[in-house]
């Protein structure tokens, strides 16, 4: 191997390292800061779990953590059920309506969150629904469902097209065939979709911001309004915890997708 290709290789790695450094340095700084005993961001005053303690004592943060988790879990459950049934429905459609429905499913994913957020806000204002917990939940179900459909659909398409008929042929009623054949067949896709929905719901800011009231806040909207008053070090601790939790979830999701 000549020196030229060695040099190329070096630059390739250097470039990659730069990208990763710029991506992760802020997060690493944030995590380090969360263990800083002092309040100053400029000075390291010793290692401490003080801000983690403060975090769990803060009523507003704990309250919004509860809202975030509750919304994420409920949105995950509802969108998984809706998305799975929708995928099965779309799968059994004829070719043309099926491709139309899949385009409609892909559309919200390509649309900027701000458009989804504002249009949902307008919808709630137009229908005179007071914004709060339930409107935020509805919004999250809305943007989660297409992702579930998109995770379940490939599993259905991989199946032999006569699998459902084979179940009926052996004496299964349509509902038995649904529960004992179709759903087990695409179980992997359903679980991946559910985890994706949970993750997306957990870290959403834009859509939540437009669809809730200042009285009901999830973590991201709380951090946003707190940041305007200046960052409390408790938020460093909170962000560090959220980062770790989401990272863990994403790793699991990625592992599952690569296994399939």
């Amino acid at each position: 191997m000549n020196s030229g290709s060695k040099l190329t290789r070096f630059f390739k790695r250097f470039y990659l390292a730069l990208i990763l450094i710029f991506l992760y340095i802020p997060i690493i700084v944030l995590i380090i800061q969360s263990f800083n005993a002092g309040k100053s961001r400029a000075k390291w005053e010793g290692f401490s779990l003080h801000w983690y303690g403060e975090l769990f004592r803060s009523a507003s943060i704990m309250n919004s953590l509860e809202v975030t988790l509750l919304v994420a879990v409920l949105a995950m459950i509802v969108s998984t059920v809706l998305g799975t049934l929708a995928a099965i429905g779309i799968y059994s459609m004829k070719k043309r309506p099926q491709s139309l429905m899949m385009t409609l499913t892909n559309l919200p994913n390509t649309m900027p969150d701000i458009v989804t957020g504002i249009s949902l806000m307008l919808l709630f204002i137009f229908t005179r629904v007071d914004r709060g917990f339930w409107t935020m939940l509805l919004a999250h179900i809305t943007f989660d469902t297409p992702y579930v459909i998109l995770s379940v659909m490939p599993k259905l398409k991989q199946m032999n097209k006569h699998t459902y008929e084979a179940a009926l042929d052996l004496g299964a009623t349509p509902s038995y065939a649904l529960w004992h054949v179709l759903i087990p067949e695409c179980k992997q896709g359903i679980i991946t979709g559910a985890m994706l929905a949970f993750t997306l719901s957990l870290d959403d800011f834009t859509i939540s911001y437009f669809t809730t009231s200042p009285l009901v806040q999830n973590l991201s909207t709380l951090i946003y309004s707190a940041a305007r008053r200046g960052i409390e070090p408790t938020l460093n601790a909170l962000s560090a915890l959220m980062f770790v939790a989401l990272l863990a979830l994403l790793l699991v999701v990625n592992k599952r997708t690569s296994e399939n």
């Binding site: 032999n160 097209k161 006569h162 699998t163 008929e165 084979a166 042929d169 052996l170 004496g171 179980k187």
Partner: protein, 359 residues
């Protein structure tokens, strides 16, 4: 072996998809313990016919009787028929045992009884000891056997098979043909079999139903269909044939390829156009001076059991199968015994086809 009682009766069955007719007035009956094959090229409506009997399609019009009862709107899970699907459609999330037990579990059979019957089925299809395997881990032939066992364990009155051997290689297919046939005879179950492979149909069937473009062209036992094809299409589809335009001079004398041949057919009238079908193995190669007509060997192909020779007789090039070879370019005499000349009315082409041919 075959009872006379009609088990299934199709009467005037028609099926349309978005205004396109795929089945046009199908009338057919299937007797108990009969092995019936629906044979035809792809798109002829054979699979649709099978799916109507299985309950996966509803006929646009017409009646379907099962043991004398009209069942065209009965859902598949209430019919006493089972289907072996194309490419098997096994349940990948279940192992071999649970795949076969699927239908029995639905009947709320006790577990011990289910296990006993599943094991008996595994024996029947030569897969003893495979119960715990995943179906994905099996070969194509083994998956095929599981699919057959999964259907047969329910003791159906009729087993519907939709090109079940299509995905297997030639040698395995031949073995499975014999196995299926012997299984059918041992168990005394009615088989309705769909295939486009004429050889498969001839090997296995009691009755062959030749279909084309949503119509039934001919129903008969394999020998009858082969020896007495109803028209030139059937003759061409079942085995190889020389099909010529000819003229019926009068009873028992037909003219084709510029010569008059004695034959055994009568009742067509005098000087009427007819289709003449002669099987390649029914033409005898004789000395140039004793043949009814003479020709020049154009090409010789070795086909394993026989040689296939194309012989140019001026008006027509005959395909001849013979175990003895004549060198290319030599002049030979052709002789056909009257019994082997099949005369049929010229085939009337359906309207669409006549158009298609004109293009």
């Amino acid at each position: 072996m075959v009872d006379n009682e009609h088990l299934i009766d199709l009467r005037h069955i028609c099926k349309e998809y978005d205004g396109v007719t795929v089945l046009d007035d199908i009338n057919l009956y299937i007797r108990k313990r009969e092995f019936v094959t629906l044979l035809g090229p792809s798109g002829c409506g054979k699979t649709t016919t099978l799916r109507i009997i299985g309950g996966f399609e509803t006929p646009t019009s017409g009646e379907l009787y099962f043991e004398g009862k009209e069942i065209s709107s009965v859902p598949p899970y209430k019919r006493r028929v089972n289907t072996v699907f194309q490419k098997y459609a096994l349940f990948p999330h279940l192992n071999v045992h649970d795949n076969i037990a699927f239908g029995l579990k639905l009947k709320k059979m006790p577990k011990a009884e289910i296990d006993k019957r599943v094991d008996a089925m595994l024996d029947l299809v030569n897969l003893r000891g495979y119960g715990k395997r995943k179906v994905d881990a099996l070969s194509g032939g083994q998956q095929q056997r599981v699919a057959i066992a999964r259907s047969l364990v329910n003791e159906p009155e009729v087993l519907l098979l939709d090109e079940p051997l299509g995905a297997l290689d030639l040698k395995l297919r031949k073995e499975m043909q014999l196995e299926l046939k012997s299984m059918q005879q041992r168990l005394g179950i009615t088989f309705l079999y769909v295939t486009h492979d004429q050889e498969e149909a001839l090997t296995m069937s009691d009755t062959i139903v030749v279909m084309r473009d949503g119509h039934i062209l001919q129903i008969g036992d394999p020998k009858h269909i082969y020896d007495e094809p109803a028209n030139a299409f059937v003759a061409d589809f079942i085995g190889e044939s020389n099909i010529l335009r000819g003229t019926m001079v009068h009873d028992e004398l037909v003219s084709f390829a510029g010569h008059e041949f004695p034959c055994v057919d009568f009742g067509f009238g005098s000087s009427v156009p007819v289709d003449v079908v002669i099987r390649p193995e029914d033409i005898m190669l004789v000395g140039e001076d004793v043949g009814q007509i003479t020709g020049i060997i154009q090409s010789v192909l070795f086909k394993g059991v026989h040689y296939e020779m194309m012989i140019d007789c001026g008006d027509f090039t005959f395909k001849v199968h013979s175990t003895t070879m004549q060198p290319q370019g030599s002049r030979v005499g052709l002789s056909i015994v009257p019994f082997n000349i099949h005369i049929m009315k010229p085939m009337e082409l359906p309207a669409e086809e006549a158009k298609a041919d004109a293009v």
